[in-house]
Amino acid sequence: MADILVYSEKRDAALELAFKAKEFAGTLGMGLAAAALGEGAVAAAADLGAHGADRVFVSEDAALEGLAVDTMADALAQIAKEAGATIVLVASTRRGKELAPRLAQKLGAGCVTDVNSLELRDGDLVAGRYALGGNTVSLETLGTEIKVLAVMPKTFEIGAPTAGVGQVVTPAVTLQPSAVKLVERRAKEGDAVNLEDAERILGVGRGFGKREDMELAEQLTAALGAELSCTKGLSDFGWLGEDRIIGLSGAKTKPDLYVAVGISGQIQHTVGISSAKLIAAVNTDKDAPIFQLADYGIVGDLYEVVPALIEKLKSV
């Protein structure tokens, strides 16, 4: 019996994949295997079992230290073979997105990265991802015997753990240490911004004329009870950090309310807000593409409208 194999170096992403893959495995009559690699792998195994994995392949091989992508790909390729896996799901984190194609190449597999929807159609996995800079959604299938899919974190829910425990397997992997050495790893600076989970988001763009005006943006953010975000263009000026970018090169969000101020609405940005329940926009240009996407709109000078909004919000 063939298996689905799931892996992520991030705990929540791995559990999410395991939980969803369990459903696919049930429909397809397949088993579910999970891999846990490197430091802490043994501890992660129980969680994966509780979230549906029948077997958890655990390796804390010294060669995996630092999580070099070539060695990880080598380990997963060997585990996939031992598990008889024909579908491999990894999380499309930066590390996972680097890992998936290298693994696919090793396995002679087709690969889709940044998958944001995955479903079974007539027994075939259909993966959705943005294409053409976010202008379109491409639905793709893979024709190879082994398929590798890198799925965006938070595409699926993490279900509650069951009483089940996976069988822990020590795979017979032979690994060489990577030629790539980790010299240093440090956490990114800046306060943790979590746009993906924010309920209300204010987005600001190049309609703002100078860095000092970010204070006005912050006042509106506070009045809305929102998180502050921006376009890549504004972050490129250095006015807000890159962790606040929404769009193709930033966060994909799904807030209840997204308010766009001074944002024209280029697809590279709007791809990150199209799942918002409600979109409101303020822009000087009545023909700005953002209004095509907006539920509510104001055509006007943001330097007049934003203070008026702040005042009104404070009064209610």
Partner: protein, 262 residues
């Protein structure tokens, strides 16, 4: 130290020019240009070459035909790359990332000697990020993704890279494959003089047969079922009047929607 760098460049449709009609992207008469991140990769290569003092930057492009690549190649040669190698073949009309990687890897083998091969972390249009890692695997090269700083030194190359929530510094022997993120640099705008000179730089053109490949070797592994714009159902209500009036109506509408939590 002499430093030879190959930069793999994809030619992308100009995304600003794409219109959507009945959810279908209209691709006719769309100009093609070098990808944004590939320009970052070219800029990084030029800076590394210049600080090494000796060596060359070769740009490598694969495409189905000359039309789409001519402008792209000119663009990056004008930035300051020394030569270009084109792999042009009708079989590359609609390749996937596996096919492109196969062609690039074979071309890199034919080029023979290089110290670094650079890529964008993803293409401007489809952003799959697959080509760099696949080429690295085919050629057995050490691979470092998401570089925001590249320095030649140590055991070969020292790369600072930007991960989801950490910054890593990695070291690898040469030759190595490195993909770059946009924050690595600001690509230079070619001067008129350099644009003129670009036309005289050597451009080598190979077909798949020159690389020992056939159409089957670059055949796509994936099928695209559909590629359509997302459907958006929005209310499109606009508020008129002065700023205070507009703001009041706007806030009242949001309150009514129940999206302004306390």
């Amino acid at each position: 130290m002499k430093l030879d760098i190959v930069v793999c460049v994809k030619t992308n449709p100009d995304l600003q020019m794409i219109r959507i009609k009945n959810r279908e992207p209209v691709m006719e008469a769309i100009p093609f240009k070098a990808g944004d991140l590939e320009k970052n990769a070219v800029e990084a290569a030029l800076q590394l070459r210049d600080s090494a003092g000796e060596g060359k930057v070769v740009v490598l492009v694969v495409a189905e035909g000359n039309r789409k690549v001519r402008e792209t190649v000119k663009e990056v040669l004008a930035m300051g790359a020394d030569e270009a190698v084109l792999v042009v073949d009708p079989a590359l009309a609609n390749p996937d990332q596996a096919g492109v990687a196969r062609a690039l890897a074979a071309a890199l083998q034919k080029i023979g000697s290089f110290d670094l091969v650079l890529f964008g972390e993803g293409s401007t249009d489809n952003y799959t990020g697959q080509v760099g890692p696949r080429v690295a695997e085919i050629l057995g090269l050490p691979q470092i993704g998401y570089a925001r700083k590249i320095t030649i030194g140590g055991a070969g190359v020292l790369v600072e890279r930007s991960m989801d929530d950490s910054i890593e510094t990695l070291e690898a022997p040469l030759p190595a494959a490195v993909t770059v993120v946009s924050e690595i640099n600001e690509p230079r705008i070619p001067s008129l003089m350099n644009i003129m000179k670009a036309g005289k730089k050597p451009v080598e053109e190979w077909g798949l047969a020159d690389l020992g490949l056939d159409a089957a070797a670059v055949a796509p592994l994936r099928a695209v079922l559909s590629n359509l714009a997302e459907e958006q159902d929005r209310k499109h209500i606009m508020f008129e009047g002065g700023a205070a009036e507009q703001a009041a109506a706007f806030v009242n509408a949001l309150i009514k929607e129940g999206v302004l939590g306390r």
